[in-house]
């Protein structure tokens, strides 16, 4: 597009330098260091002992299952709900600003505050249970906190807005004439959605899913505050943290965090493979 692009190559390196230094010092080096630590024992020999230990320790290995059990469903729910909501609001709607504001609030306030607040609001004596009992939906207070459900709800409260707003942006970028063309060719709303809009949303859905999953799988403070960190909600991040800062075995901790990364990478690769499979055509969704 621009003949000037690339011409002034001499300027590239100095401008990138701060970012490269930052990357190397604060990210790549620690990452590599962590990898190294995970492959060494306390005495300094290289071995897979840390990984072996993790996979053989039933309690620690269980954290993988626990975390997946929490992260996978909620990610599907978040993205799965976000799709129809984004579709519904794709042409804009009344009160859009207000709705988006409320969706932004949990993201802004962060996990800790939401978890802390949920403890009271959704506790046995909290307003939610009071309301449910008044409406006779439950007979006695329902357990929302100090269990897996609480963690899942908090991930939903924060994850859904992410997924929704991301998808909304994506859907809004699809040429509205495509919908009209589909209508004129005889498709009803449902057919237009499945045959035209959904396939074009797939890249956005994929990214949304990946980012949501990463966030859910790395869950930490809400698993501690809202869950039962010693039992049903002992997620893999807790295990890593405990080995590092309670038992001071950084080798073991690093191994666990590498396993975390590997699992996330596997899921992301899978999702991206699905996306490539779904969307064989060129990705021109712009207007004209």
């Amino acid at each position: 597009m621009d003949a000037v692009k690339g011409a002034s190559r001499s300027g590239t390196l100095p401008l990138l330098l701060p970012a490269l230094v930052f990357l190397v010092l604060l990210f790549l080096y620690p990452f590599a260091y962590g990898l190294f630590l995970s492959l060494t024992t306390a005495t300094g020999e290289v071995s897979l002992a840390n990984y072996a230990r993790f996979f053989s320790d039933a309690r620690d290995l269980h954290t993988v299952w626990v975390t997946l059990q929490i992260a996978m469903p909620i990610t599907f729910i978040n993205v799965g709900l976000a799709v129809p909501f984004a579709y519904y609001m794709r042409h804009g709607m009344r009160g859009e600003k207000l709705i988006t504001f409320f969706l932004i609030v949990p993201i802004t306030l962060g996990t800790v505050l939401i978890s802390e607040g949920m403890l009271t609001f959704m506790g046995p004596a909290g307003w939610l249970n009071q309301l449910l009992m008044v409406l006779r939906i439950v007979k006695e207070p329902f357990r929302f906190t100090h269990n897996v459900l609480g963690v899942v709800i908090s991930l939903g409260l924060q994850g859904f807005p992410y997924a929704f707003l991301m998808l909304l942006g994506y859907v809004s970028g699809i040429n509205p004439d495509l919908e009209r063309a589909s209508q004129m060719l005889g498709a009803n709303r449902w057919q237009t959605f499945w045959k035209i809009l959904f396939p074009l949303m797939v890249p956005g859905i994929a990214i949304s899913f990946c980012l949501n999953f990463v966030m859910a799988f790395s869950v930490f403070p809400s698993a501690v505050l809202l869950g039962q960190p010693s039992g049903p909600t002992r997620v893999i991040a807790i295990a890593a943290y405990q080995w590092a800062f309670e038992k001071f075995n950084f080798n073991a901790a690093s191994a666990i965090s590498m396993v975390m990364a590997a699992i996330e990478l596997a899921v992301i690769s899978f999702v991206l493979a699905w996306r490539s499979n779904m969307y064989k055509g060129a990705s021109m969704v712009g207007k004209g």
Partner: protein
């Protein structure tokens, strides 16, 4: 697909809040004809088109196909059930589907048999000269090719009405001409009833059986290309169709001559004789008469091509001084000041086109055949006279 004889739009109006985009639009389309909605941006032509498709709800009025009312603002048949085809300005091809799948889209929805789909898609692609493109994706194709796919996608369904919303506007000039020929050929061949929307008068003249000229939501004139071209209904249509030289004139005298009116006019001191072929009973005769009686002014309209350079026996002989000459190859477009008008400065400007060589600053003798001078009321539309503003 049901056969039909005519589509009639009755007093269709579309309002967006305070603004009226289409005002009291009434028209009948006969089967097989190509009607063009022509007008500048904002004249409501696209809105009118979209109202007919059903993509936009109408504020008042009705749309009928033969004896069936398809829209009366209360009940309406949704766009997907009307069996109309629409071609969009930006093609609107489904980017994730191949050309074949794009064209087959409507057929698949109607659950046509696979073998028939393949056959029909093939025929449609052949009609638009895109054999061999079936496996390509839209992003791999040029604008002109994409538009042809869009056309194929519609005609493969044998729609009862084909609607095209400025389909050539996004294409470069050469492609536009090429595709215009193809559209004309296609229409001759298939004879699908078509509504075509454009702001380009050349396209309208070339393609249409009838032209509907729109301005600010209102129909200005409906007629064949020849009618709209030679006998515009008002100053706006005349200007849009290429008439220039809209001089303010007073009517000095008029007389009947061989079924036409010969009027002597005064254009700021310059005498002109016009011969107006208005039959008896034509309301314009009354306009002329009252202008003469009351001394009110009228406006002329003369095509630049009709102004002849050189002296001629029957014309209005005038002299002018060329101020701007634009060489266009075959002809030159010349802007000149008429000599002899009062006040002398600035003179009346005449725009003419001529094959003769003209230099800037050259003094020219020109003549205007009386039959080529049109006369109109000074206000452009009745609506504007009533004070209605866009």
């Amino acid at each position: 697909m049901k056969d039909f004889k005519k589509i009639s739009v009755r007093r269709m109006t579309k309002r967006f809040g305070e603004k009226t985009a289409v005002d009291d639009f009434s028209l009948e389309f006969c089967k097989g004809e190509l009607v063009t909605f022509l007008g500048p941006s904002g004249c409501g032509k696209s809105t009118a088109l979209n109202c007919i498709t059903g993509l936009i709800p109408i504020t008042s009025g009705e749309i009928w196909i033969d004896d069936e009312c398809i829209d009366n603002t209360i009940d309406k048949i949704p766009p997907e059930k009307r069996e109309f085809g629409m071609v969009f300005q930006n093609y609107a091809l489904f980017p994730h589907l191949t050309v074949f799948e794009n064209v087959a889209f409507g057929l698949r929805l109607r659950r046509i048999r696979r073998a028939d789909i393949a056959r029909r898609v093939d025929t449609a692609l052949r009609l638009v000269h895109l054999e061999g493109y079936a496996a390509k994706y839209p992003a791999q194709m040029s604008g002109g090719e994409q538009q042809r796919v869009a056309i194929a996608r519609c005609i493969v369904l044998e729609p009862r009405l084909l609607l095209l919303d400025e389909p050539l506007s996004n294409l470069d000039a050469k492609l536009r001409v090429e595709l215009r020929y193809e559209l004309k050929a296609l229409h001759e061949r298939l004879k699908v009833t078509t509504i075509y929307v454009t702001h380009d008068q050349t396209e309208a003249l070339a393609l249409s059986d009838r032209i509907v000229v729109l301005r600010l939501g209102r129909i200005q004139q409906v007629g064949t290309p020849a009618e709209v071209f030679s006998d515009p209904a008002n100053l706006f249509v005349a200007d849009f169709m290429g008439f220039k030289n809209a001089w303010t004139v007073k009517v000095e005298s008029q007389r009947e001559m061989d079924g036409a009116i010969e009027a002597r006019l005064d254009a700021q001191g310059i005498p002109l004789t016009a011969r107006l072929a208005w039959p008896r009973g034509d309301p314009r005769r009354e306009l002329l008469a009252s202008a003469q009686r009351k001394g009110t002014v009228l406006r002329t309209a003369i095509r630049p091509e009709d102004v002849e350079v050189g002296t001629a026996a029957n014309g209005n002989p005038l002299a002018c001084l060329a101020t701007l000459v634009e060489y266009q190859g075959q002809v030159s477009q010349v802007s000149a000041d008429l000599v002899g008008s009062e006040p002398a400065e600035p003179g009346l400007r005449v725009d003419l086109r001529t094959a003769s060589r003209v230099e800037e600053g050259e003094r020219l003798a020109i003549s205007i055949p009386p039959g080529k001078i049109l006369l109109f009321a000074p206000t452009e539309t009745a609506a504007e006279a009533a004070g209605w503003t866009p």
